[in-house]
Symmetry: C2
Subunit: 358 residues, 2 copies
């Protein structure tokens, strides 16, 4: 199995060249491209036009959408690899958002006990999060990413090439993870990022910002590939964020993942303020930026129990009944071993509703 | 992901104590035992009587037999882990032969991206081979171990405790892998092993021989966990062996895995003789020992094409159309990068039939 350290990150808008260069070096006996029904139409032809290896690759197209990130689709990928004669020396290129890189990565990680794969994220969210760091997997039995493996792509080719095809809400969703990385990084990363919020997402300036953000993640993953400690930093915003996301889905009013993370970030900053004296000025600034860009999620105190119950079942918990959070003393200074009681979470949700004028 | 080096091997006939000691140290939030319908009846009660942790563990029982080492049974294990509230801090004990350790290991390796597991092999074949070294997986789409991962058990507890429950053919099957290890090890390992062939398989003397054999494998796996090179040594006997096994199955006359490996070992020694001048005296001695103990597999030259065709589809091949073999210059001196042409294999099968008087 590949260790995360061996993962090569390539930042370029010349994706076709980067793929051909990798293929020339890696010499797979057979090359596969896994795409979903969207990226097969919108992205694959653009690359295939300039890349001989992609043009000649065996294509596996899966249905688009999180609901297809399941065992059935995975078994379909395995079957197609198997029936088309993929060997241990074959390689896979995952071309798509997080669903494709997560599921295609897991398919490659487990086919004949692991073949090489390259991620080519086509969404901002996948570029800044899913495609990097070796978390692969599928949803199972109603739980997100319940089945999977830590297995890094051999290479991740990160571009802004397809961001113009993304709806505004998708770009904002990815931007939320960049906000998270900037707060984890500390220094002036956060203020520089929000200052540059309006640069052209498809341009080279944004590729530079993206690179800085992805390297925050890579640096952490290299030190703790399997999330024994430090990597939990990347869960900032995700305990409450995941609860908001699941709860909204249950209510029949789904919200984009990144929006939920943005709101979850505010909950974590509130808990950080209560527990570790995190600056209330920074907290208020972030809450206001997030309200302005992501809007609000509406809930009242009768929903707290349902939200806390979802947090109780989060797989990031230790299994001893406590609810785990990633908190901060200040931007850049993390507490990855925090837990919060239902009472503390209740207090934080009260403050959250105040800040968001709900 | 656990690296193979972290795998602890415990050789003892006091299995209950060894499990309790591991559990006390590892402190899983919840403990599971995966057994098959045979080991749940024959082995589990024996250990549960003396081990509080096993007695109190959540049991998952799967149907016995290689034909159940499939995606359906695996999904059943995942579902039961999920529905019973297994967390990342839970742990699994795999109690059984290779089917249970392979499939239970893969279930644990992929549940929530990996929880800890301990293998307690109950057959000689599993003790000397499957349970050690991190190859986990299931059969898929008609191919053996097509889906899986390299992921080492946290600990393997190796005993001779249940070998008295094994049919003679099962013991011989495991002994074939010990023969293989002794030839790989070189020195006097092979001659000492065949001299001790008749010791009590359930006794402490045999546990010592077993330990020596398992350490040959562990030593190799530690140096090359994911089979990039040296680990291919352990494929000795397996290219032709696997072909004999699959071919016999297709003929409706299945043979035990270890028998096929024993015969495959002879094919590899013949190719080693032809290619590298491996001693014909040692080759003849091994062939005669194997004929005496494992009998013959009957085939004639009209079957060569079918056998070679199976070898062509072996997943150990490089994917460039050649057929890979592990050969020897002499016992202890390996060539793990050999390939053989259909003509050479034909010549070897002719000599094989001579040696076995077929």
């Amino acid at each position: 199995m590949l260790s995360p350290q061996s993962q090569e990150l390539i930042f370029t808008n010349n994706v076709a060249d980067a793929i051909d260069t990798w293929v020339k070096k890696a010499k797979p006996s057979k090359l596969y491209v896994i795409a979903d029904s969207n990226t097969a139409t919108l992205c694959l032809p653009v690359i295939a036009e300039k890349s001989a290896s992609v043009a000649n690759a065996h294509k596996i197209v899966v249905p688009a959408g999180e609901k297809h990130k399941n065992l059935e689709t995975l078994a379909g990928i395995w079957t197609e690899l198997c029936n088309s004669g993929a060997s241990r020396s074959s390689a896979v290129i995952n071309l798509g958002g997080g669903v494709v890189t997560d599921m295609g990565g897991f398919a490659a990680a487990t086919f004949k006990r692991g073949i090489r794969f390259v991620n080519v994220p086509t969404t901002l969210l996948a570029a800044v999060d899913a495609a990097v760091g070796g978390k692969t997997g599928i949803d199972f039995n109603g739980f997100k990413n319940e089945i999977g493996a830590f297995c890094c792509a051999d290479a991740v080719i990160i571009s802004t090439l397809f961001f113009h095809t993304l709806p505004h809400s998708e770009r904002l969703s990815g931007f939320a993870e960049m906000l998270k990385h900037s707060i984890i990084a500390g220094g002036d990363a956060y203020s520089r990022l929000i200052r540059n919020k309006n640069v052209d997402f498809a341009g080279d300036d944004f590729l530079e910002l993206l690179k800085e953000s992805v390297l925050v993640k890579k640096n952490i993953v290299d030190q703790d590939p399997t999330e024994k400690g430090l990597r939990k930093a990347l869960n900032l915003g995700h305990t409450a964020g995941h609860a908001f996301e699941s709860w909204a889905l249950e209510q029949g009013k789904p919200v984009p993942h990144g929006y939920a993370v943005a709101w979850g970030l505010v909950v974590d900053l509130i808990l950080s303020h209560l527990r570790h004296g995190f600056s209330s000025e920074t907290l208020r600034g972030a809450a206001s930026f997030i309200e302005e860009n992501y809007g609000r999620i509406s809930f009242d105190c009768s929903d707290y129990e349902a939200l806390i119950d979802i947090m109780r079942h989060d797989k990031k918990n230790a299994g001893d009944g406590t609810i785990s959070f990633t908190l901060l003393h200040s931007p850049g200074s993390l507490d990855v071993t925090a837990t919060a009681s239902p009472e503390e979470i209740t207090a934080a949700l009260d403050i959250f509703r105040d800040l968001f004028h709900i």
